[in-house]
Amino acid sequence: MLRYTLTRLTSLILSLVAASVVIFAAIEVLPGDPASVMLGVNAQEDTLAALRTELGLDQAPAERYVTWVSGMVHGDFGVSYTYRTPVAQMIVDRLQVSLPLALYALALTVLIAFPVGIWAASRRGSVADVSVMGLTQLGVAVPNFWFAMLMVLVFAINLQWFSAGGFAGWSEGPLLAIKSLTLPAIALALPQASILARVMRSALLDTLSEDFIRTARAKGLTRRQALWRHALRNAMIPVLTIIGMQFSFLLAGGIIIENVFYLPGLGRLIFQAISARDLIVVESVVMLLVFAVVMVNFLVELAYAFVDPRLRVRR
């Protein structure tokens, strides 16, 4: 188990290094000068030069890359060009919205998908199965921002059950914060839950047709017992893979939903940062997201080993 973890960890670090190079190079080619964005239309050339020096933009790219990476390793993500605050602090602030939102949406996804998927698989071919799977087809096909728009129209503007968006901050009490994340989380979760429910169902059906299920039935287990005790855990590998991918998607994919609900999350931060050419923020946030994706994959792989003894290295 330790070896397995170490091997995975090494490849994780390699991916991160490769990713940092790619990100830095990609950002380098972004046209636009952060200094002129900050100073606006009437700025004079010497003012711009002064600001560029202040921001360290006059150094060579390689130099800036090294500064950036070594800073990050020490937890220093630099200072935002436009906000003039430490990027790390900004990320921490934004994560207080994006992370709970992603987790909330993921929890909803799992809470919807597992029962639905299991229920449909256990009633394969029945009217219930067909209609639930039809609904999930719709769920997969609906563009989440459109769904979000419709929800705002109904629940915020017409019914006024929820606020139309915004995030008051956790200091106003967790209940209020959770309430303001509810509509966005639903908008994010619905398509994901549909996908996961379908994966759950087909993974379960696959395992239900395996030989060992027949063995279990021959032991005297009922259909239901065989499903819960034998099929479910075996179906977890594809399901875990999808959950891992979904979490990364939810963390970064909130970008549009955060705009619809004007939530101050990472997605919106990066959007603003791109348009303001706040390169250091873009770099760091993308790096962070890549880090999150890689970490989640790492955890998912550890989870595989947890689920599946075959992946643990033989003693």
């Binding site: 490769a18 096909a141 563009p143 459109w146 998607f249 963390l251 990066i270 791109i274 993308v286 997201l289």
Partner: protein
Amino acid sequence: MSEPSLSPAQTPSTLRIVLRSRSLILGLVLTLTFVAAALISFVWVPYDIATLDIANKIKGPSGAHWLGTDHYGRDIASMIMQGARTSIAVAVLAVGIGMLIGVPLGLWAAARRGSLLDEVIMRTNDLVFAFPSLLIAVMITSAFGPSATNAIIAIGIFNIPVFARLTRSSALSLWQRDYILAARVAGKGAARISWEHILPNITNMMIVQGTIQFSLGILAEAGLSYVGLGAQPPTPSWGRMLADSQTFISFAPHMALFPGLAILLTVLGLNLMGDGLRDLFDPKLRRGRT
């Protein structure tokens, strides 16, 4: 080792299987409807959408305008027809990029399984996967200017690893087959075997995956256009129609409803078709055929 003793009469014909699969039919009907709408729009649309008719703006559905008009007085039905063109073109090209690059890479990696090349291809793929796709699409399009072409490239890049991975894994299992060994005994090289034996046997799977990526492409294009990074005006696009309609939703919901439904139904159609095709190609359901 059971022998499929199906006589020709018992072997269900492709057509009958297609007809039996409800999801395939529904999917085909929906998809073809939108493809047809896109094609017809080349020769005819109810109203010319290049000329604005501000005086008639934001009218609900009526006899003259079946789906109403938008904030410039353009006919929404015509916009949806021409928007289908954009969506389909972007998705087709993006999937095309993914397939044209991804499939050969996957075949190559599989043929040189375990080699450095295989490792490099697969690691690069993992790296692309590690990037949040929408975000990178946003970066690419805002870096190089928003346009349909850049949207195609941005979506296409993320299709490459999808196809490369799928190709590699299915090709790897095919490489274990005896008929590949037979071809090697016959002296055929890896490239030739990939072309002659592997590629034809993974086309079904590629078609299914292509359908799914196609629908994802349409959603991605809508998302990008929604944030203003897809096709540029005056080229109509469903995503931008939704973005434009946003502020009108409270008093002219038809402006948001119809383009949203267009996306929903097209994606639904493609997904149903993908599912149907998967069933059609599934050897478990159809013995005697691959």
